[in-house]
Amino acid sequence: MQRMDRTALAARVARDIPEGAYVNLGIGAPTMVGNFLPRDKDIFLQSENGLLGMGPAPAEAEIDWELINAGKQPVTILAGGAYFHHGDSFAMMRGGHIDICVLGAFQVSVHGDLANWHTGAPDAIPAVGGAMDLAIGARQVFVMMDLLTKTGESKLVANCTYPLTGLACVSRVYTDLAVFDVGPQGARVVEMVDGLDLDKLRELTGVDLELA
């Protein structure tokens, strides 16, 4: 069976983002999704730090440290983009104006609970940023993650054991081995990589799964 690498996974997520969508890409791997969005279609990237109509990374000579994304990387603004303050930026999220956000995760439950901000380790210094606002604000929350931890435990779980970011907020989970819909009905397998089957996937994850 052939795992998808991060690049392939980012491309896979990008295929599910329709023209006209207002999209927030979380920091880390989700940011890569932007590289695979079709340039000939109008898809609107929002950055929580006050930018809508975010364009690709600039050439070295064009870098402006007052034009960065939420991950503090230099970006550009498209013709038709706009700047706004943090109040309006999070009103966009909380008010349900963002169609899709893509986030990383430590764990997602089959019912769509999300844990992605805190390992719960007693000595960890927690940081939450905009994760909780995005989790409950975007109309659809896509998670992008490896299905298994390095030690082989499933990150798709019956119930999250890490501290939660949001309850029942994730709609779809893109992993290196399969794509799942999650929600009130539990987890449904949308697709699997070649060489994997439903029984094997049930075994790997240890959760109830049906085909979508």
Binding site: E19, G20, Y22, K41, D42, F44, Q46, L52, G53, I77, A79, G80, G81, A82, Y83, F84, G87, D88, F90, A91, M92, M93, R94, G95, G96, H97, I98, G137
Partner: protein, 225 residues
């Protein structure tokens, strides 16, 4: 390519349904989308709830909606004014319900809807008739009234210029309720007196980013404004 510009006022309001709630920008005539309201009248939708600062004056705009008896309820701060005779008549006849809201609470409740808040504690109106029956609370020595967001199916907004992504700039005090109503409605429809190319609006000066706008229509009759 996303192009939010539609060809006519009629097309812009075509999916209105009877019973819809409609926010309408404007403070008096400034910022009132008179041509969109005309299209609503022509469309024929009735049993409407109108959320606006005023309840119409004179013969056009909300007053014309009142005259045509399309309005079931008005949520506003200042219904009674010179020439509000169409509202006055409907109200006195018991044909239209009035929810009177202090202007700042009207704004804050619209903002709360746009920003996804569940409710707000506001000091305005505490101890008055307009807070009767409402939950109150003392916080840090001051008294507040719990007020809920006002959502709407549609917002009809007047702006000065737009591009095809729906980015908006306004003109002088015609801005008033436009930006906050655009954020609070399921479908925001904007009439403008100018359509500009993408990139023509300064990204530092865009007042309403296109994310809050669904449809834009050019008011070709706009000689001024």
């Amino acid at each position: 390519m996303i192009n939010k510009i539609v060809g006519s006022m009629a097309e812009a309001v075509a999916d209105l349904k009877d019973g819809a709630s409609i926010m309408i920008s404007g403070f008096g005539d400034a910022g009132a989308p008179a041509e969109l309201i005309e299209a609503v009248i022509a469309h024929g939708a009735t049993d409407l709830t109108i959320i606006s600062n005023n309840a119409g004056a004179g013969e056009v705009g909300i007053a014309a909606l009142m005259k045509a008896n399309r309005v079931r309820k008005v949520i506003c701060s200042f219904p009674r004014q010179a020439a509000s005779h169409h509202f006055d008549a409907r109200y006195r006849a018991g044909e239209v319900e009035l929810e009177l809201v202090p202007q700042g609470n009207l704004a804050a409740r619209i903002e709360a809807a746009g920003a996804g808040l569940g409710a707000i504690f506001t000091p305005t109106g505490f101890g008055t008739l307009l807070a009767e029956g409402k939950e109150t609370r003392e916080i840090d020595g001051r008294n507040y009234v719990l007020e809920y967001p006002i959502h709407a199916d549609f917002a009809l907004v007047k702006a000065r210029a737009a591009d095809r992504w729906g980015n908006l700039v306004y003109r002088k005090v015609a801005r008033n309720f436009g930006p906050i109503m655009a954020m609070a409605a399921k479908t925001t429809i904007v009439q403008v007196s100018e359509i500009v190319e993408l990139g023509d609006l300064d990204p530092e000066a865009i007042v309403t980013p296109g994310i809050f706008v669904n449809r834009v229509v050019l008011n070709s009759a706009a000689a001024t404004a």
